[in-house]
Amino acid sequence: MNKKSSAQGPGQDAPTHSVPAPQPLSVSLEANVQEISKRIGESSDVVFRHFTNESLSSSPLAFIYIDGLVNSEMVNQTVLQPLMETVVPKIPDITATDAYNLVKDQMLPIGSVKEGKTLESLLGMLFDGYTLILFNGMTTALAADTAGWEKRSINEPTSQGVIRGPKEGFTENLRTGTAMLRRRLKTSDLRIEEYKIGERTQTGVALVYLEGIASAEVLKEIRRRLNAIQTDSILESNYIEEFIQDGGLTPFPTIQNTERPDALAGGILEGQVGIIIDGTPFALLAPSTFFNFFQSSEDYYQRYDISSFLRLIRYSAFFVSMLLPALYIAVTTFHQEMLPTTLLVSLAAQREGVPFPALAEALLMELTFDVLREAGVRMPRTIGPAISIVGALVLGQSAVQAGLVSAAMVIVVSFTAISNFVIPSLAIANSIRLIRFIMMLIAATLGLFGIMSFLMVLLIHMAGLRSFGVPYLSPVAPMTPRYLKDIFIRVPLWDMTIRPKTNLGKETRRQGKHQKPEPAKKLQKPEGENTP
């Protein structure tokens, strides 16, 4: 543990981006405008506007905003109009300070107005969609929040669909994300801490958690790691994920990502800490154990028995996806006596004309599938159907008919692929895509013995993993029986009295005991006995 934490870059309290000493505003309006214009490099989308309003001062004022980042209608109505059209009784000898206060207090019908004293802070606000109002003779400037750029509307999540459950997903906008979360967690305990990470991107990163439920140590650790990030840019949540996740050399993810506000809310309610990142609809959840990746938010939206069944199916699909090709290779090259005779003869018959050994055949088909899959993702949507024709007909059926691969191998590869998609989290599904190949090589050299040995190595590795201090295999290893209610099976909601993933956060009761719905008669019985 010590090694890991000390490896996390120097300086916990270092600022997120190192800047030269901030430059204060000068008294001259012209100088300030010139300086800002120089800093931005006279970009065409920056609008400078000088104006005068007799009633304020005879000296000119200036607006600066970035076209496209602001809602121009809003700028016109709430900044330009009041400042340019309002004529108040002229105050004689109005000073710059008076004018400044007048504008700030009376003339800006807008929610968020900030003050900026340095060039850097003003520029930062400018890039956030604020409209700057600079005064001649003042070393402070006003910034009105007029942000309003083109946004994607809220859509159904494309990567994590459900049949029953909310259909809205996060968008690329950080504020939309926090709002969606707040709408679900109407409690004063919800905390949203914002960070700006990335020297050049200044990406907004919001740490969201429930005060009193999230573990303080985990929070401290996440804050420390977020603050330690020194990078040029954060374009997607994976940038943050890679910078803060434990155990660099592991195929297993230790941070979940989700596109679903309900999943994020669910995680936060169970003591996890959410991280919403501006510019991507994928939010992060940490700490995450191995078993978190097999829980889908739909598990809680349908009956517990079917949820439990589906969850067990997911675990078996995980193993199938990881092991099936390896098992096929091992059994057909080392342990033929394990197969029923009829199956063995049938497999042998299929392999009669196949020119490659089982390993080559399996590798060939698995790689083919991965190529197909990648092509399916990258391909323009209009030529998408071509993929399925090429994939299913040419590579599947024809390859078998041409005698290049055996039909059994096609079945093995297809079932492996399908199983991989059963796992709700793409993160862990991807990690076993690679393990599968290692497994196949080991199976071809050492058979079942090799598979078992490698599984053992994997298990040891996983048992040693930590996600922000939480053991990766908990609550199974180390075993905490009372937390097992939501791991392999999901017990009815009324039976989950304490937070099931309590090891992620604090152990707190989340609902009353004895909530199992029962007929009213049964409850009234003792009273009935007393009355006569």
């Binding site: 010590n2 090259t333 033929q336 018959a349 299929q350 691969v405 055996s406 059994a408």
Partner: protein, 414 residues
Amino acid sequence: MNLRKLLNTKLLCSVLCLPLCTSLLSGCWDARELSELGITSGSAYDWEDNQWKATYQIINPSSGSSSMGGSGGGSTSSPPFITFTVKGKTIMEAIQKSNLTSIREMFPSHSRVTVIGDRLAKRGINPLLDIFLRKQDARETVYVFIHSGDAGDVLDQLMQLTKNQGAGIQLMIEQESKLLSYYPGIRMFELAMNLASESGCAAVPELMLTDSKIMDETSETGQTNLPSRLALGRLGVLKGDKMVGWLSQKEAFGLSFLTNTIKSAMIPFASRPQISEQLDSSYMIQKSTTIVQPRWARDHFIMDIHIKGSGVIHEIGSKVDLNNQAALAEMETSIENNILEVVEQSWKSVKKLNADVTGFAVRIHRSDKKRWRSIRQDKNWDTVFQNIEIRPHVHMDIERTGLSSKSFKSIQQD
């Protein structure tokens, strides 16, 4: 200090990882592709010209109907299996010689049956048992049969309804012992166990061809009624490791009662023994247990054999009222007498062969250790066995009489 601890763990880990590397280096020496395997479905052993003669039946995968994959397969005219015969001074020598003629390595793990020629059976099968118990890939779960004649001939015979002849024979004996109970199939390890037991005897079913002709061409299986088929025949009796004689199927059936191996069996009986002794009805035993209790009576052993069972009436050929308890009781007695007769007849033949396939030696050893010790010391089991008197007590219940309570014959005459 922490660093040193870390370094130590790292060192320890890398040292621990070294043995893993060796396992990788030594990998895949025994990897075999499916196309390199000659999947053996059956084997036959015989003794000819003073040497072992082994015949192996190797499955030809490309003859199977499921050979869609691969361009090599698909020809339906190729036989479902091939056989080849090798000879050698020892069994292993013969097996190794098979590599002189076969393109595939023999893979005996899927073997289902082993047929022993009667010449070999009379000479002794100890070496065969040894190799089956010793060799790693030999399967001692194969069913053993005796063939009177050249054992290899049986393996050449094609079977209908199944392509894998070995599996077909296995099915045959399993069905027989489940539905008919003339004799149970005996597996190689059971054979070894029986021969090594106190009685030192075992019974092995005969596998025979119903005609002298061998159907070994695929074109010949095209006909619906094969002139020659594989069939289960008599029961060969082995004593020591040599065959001493045969029991007929009826005698074998009686032996099944004595050894408690009846699973379900059909007993023809006379439904009204006072009127006619003719066997006109059938009773199906659905459950039967035999308890053998030896007891010493002055100079010989008396075996009390309690056979208890229940079953249903399947066929009635006489005029009988099944609602009548007395009639049923009469029928039960008739059935019991039939069984008694079968058992007595069987015991007579067993006694004549002087081979304790009944397992009485085991019973006596278990119930009377002292006397068994003295028998073994005196080595006079054979005389003791000859003096054994059996007292079978049969009790059979008719549980149901089928869907009609009257025989058709009685309806007709009303």
